[in-house]
Every structure is written in C-alpha cells, then in structure tokens.
Symmetry: C3
C-alpha cells in the first residue's frame, strides 16, 4: 500500500512527520513489515534524528547551512535563487529515502528518534512524500 502525504513547510528546517508516517502504517493495519518513505523533491530531504531537544535540530540546521553556503562563487546554477543550489547539495548529503521496520504495529524507531522532512528552501513549499507499507 502506498499513500502520498503532503507537508506544507513555511521555512527552512526540520519538520517532524513521524505522526503522518505512522498514520499510514496504522491505516495499512500491518503488524510486522516494512515502511518506506521517499521525498519527491530535490531541494528537501529526509532525516531520522533526535526528537527530544530542539537545540540539537537547530544546531544541525545552522551547521549544514554554514557548510553549504549561499552565494558561493563556485555555483553556476543560480537562476532559481541563492538558496536553490545549496538546497540541492544539502539534499544530496542527506537522505531521499528511508526504510523502517514495523514491529508490533509500530514504527521500529529508537526512543529518541523521530522522522523529519528537511526543508532546504527559505520560504518552504508544499512537499510530497510517498509512504509505502508492506507486511
């Protein structure tokens, strides 16, 4: 079973989608299986990360934005804005697809893990993910 979930991001950064992904698993009624998530964009990505302390997520965002700077003279792909090429690079350095075992009807995440959509554009967008569940 595959469902599309849509997340309206309004700013750069991590948007938790654990609940939305779990909703698809619950709808599928699968007790033991595999859940795969794929983001259908090239300027956003996926991340399983700390869902406890928001400072860890802020530091992650700040660190990556320093590593992949805007207005780098190296860029030739500049027509879509100063945050476009950095977005593609950030997406390449992180995940586009994730596969998570389903155990006893729940996502097999660790205690501190959440699933995030990582928006790399400043103003965000309507972002689609496919969620596939197999028993």
């Amino acid at each position: 079973m595959t469902r599309r979930i849509t997340v309206r991001t309004r700013r750069q950064g991590l948007h938790e989608i654990t609940g939305e992904v779990y909703g698809v698993v619950r709808e599928a009624g699968v007790r033991d299986g595999l859940c795969t998530v794929m983001v259908q964009h090239t300027s956003a990505s996926l991340l399983i990360q700390e869902n406890a302390d928001p400072s860890a997520r802020r530091d992650l965002e700040t660190w990556l934005s320093r590593l992949v700077a805007e207005n780098d003279p190296l860029y030739t792909h500049t027509t879509e804005g100063s945050d476009d090429m950095p977005s593609h690079i950030k997406a390449a350095l992180t995940a586009t697809t994730l596969s998570i075992p389903i155990v006893d009807g729940r996502l097999g995440l660790g205690t501190w893990q959440g699933i995030y959509l990582w928006e790399h554009r400043h103003h965000g967008s309507s972002r689609n993910c496919l969620v596939h569940v197999i028993p």
Copy 2:
C-alpha cells in the same frame, strides 16, 4: 525479483540510470510495490537528483570535489591513487542504497527527479547495481 545492471562510466560525475532501473520494474510487471537499488562498489554511490538542468549536477560535482579534496595530507590510504580515498569519503556522504515505491507500474519519482550513479573515480569503471522489485 533481482536483476543486476551494469553501467560503464568513463569519467567522474553523475550518470543517469532511471531508464535502466525502470526497465527492471517493467520486466517484473509490478503495478504497485517497492524498487530497491544498491551499488556494489565503495568508490561510487547513488543519488536521486534534479534531472532538468545539467548545471545543478555540475555544481554538485564541483562542490563535493572541493569539500573532499585530493592529496589531503590527512590521508594514509594513498596506494590506489589520489582519487581513491576521496572516492570512499564521497560514497560515505551520499547513498549506497535507495528504495523507491512503485505506483501504477511506474517509479514514484517526483517530476524533476532522476536516479543517478555517481562515479567518484576519474577514469570510471564498469559499475554494477542490484535492482530488487517486490509487489
């Protein structure tokens, strides 16, 4: 069903394999399911990225080659050439496996997404990927 696809890369950079992967999905005759791709090498990797403007892919390559420089005095693993250790690092920073839902007999990629084999060695090689399809 698992098939091996072989890509002859002749230079560093992104080589699109969307058509080859889709060929396996079509051969499997699966309408709804999951397609997993794995590259069987440690100096090449996989990427889902922008397939519209080639300048984005060139900038990606240039940026990563600047981040992971050749002839870094840090390297001790140098016997296989100056592009060998950077290739392993680049592969570690990008993807070795990807899982893509199959929807209505097609890969569930977004409008601008293509699947690429990322060759990290200068002269390329014959690169094998496994493509697994499950209904």
Copy 3:
C-alpha cells in the same frame, strides 16, 4: 521477519556487522528477497564500505571528525558532552537505514563491501539495530 541485533561499541569508529546481519538472513532462510537494517540511535549510523584495507576506514573516520569538529562555537546543544552534537551531525550526513537485496541466500554485497555500524561517541555504547528480512 525482524530481529534486533545489539553491538557493544567501546570507541568511536567503524564496527563491522556484516556477520550479524547475515546471521539474520540465514535464520530467516530467505533465498531471494530484501534485507533492511536500521540503527535505533541518533549518534551512530550505518555505512557500507571497503572491508579490505583498514587504512581507508581510519582515514574516513579522521576526515569526518575534522569536518565535524568538537567544541565548535556554533553549537548550543552542549550539555551532553563535546562529542554529542558532532555525533548527531555525523549521523545526519551518513545513513540510518540500508536496504540490501538477498541473492541466492546471501547478502548482495560487492566483493569489497562490508556493513558497518559507525559509532560517533568517544566511549561507545550498547547499540541496537533492527534487521528486517522479506522474501
């Protein structure tokens, strides 16, 4: 079938788990299928890498630790030790889940590929991975 494997890491770096993952595939008795591995922590990650020359793995570790430095004044998430925030960043830049086709009862890895748990904390810990196998 899903099994949990536990790895006791005692120091930062790559710990090979190919044998443990293969043990689950063998127990499942699956000839052709898909094996998914997920690490249930946010300060450790997964990597498929060179299993021949240990110098390649050491350089990988040293390079990443230079890129993601400790005591970076950028960090605000500092209460859990100087290696904590770098661990989250390193985990974000590498893989949390991997999916490997099973071919003829074996993991479809390339000749030089091994599966590693990458411990990012200095002192290590008891690390759990879920291994899911489907025919």
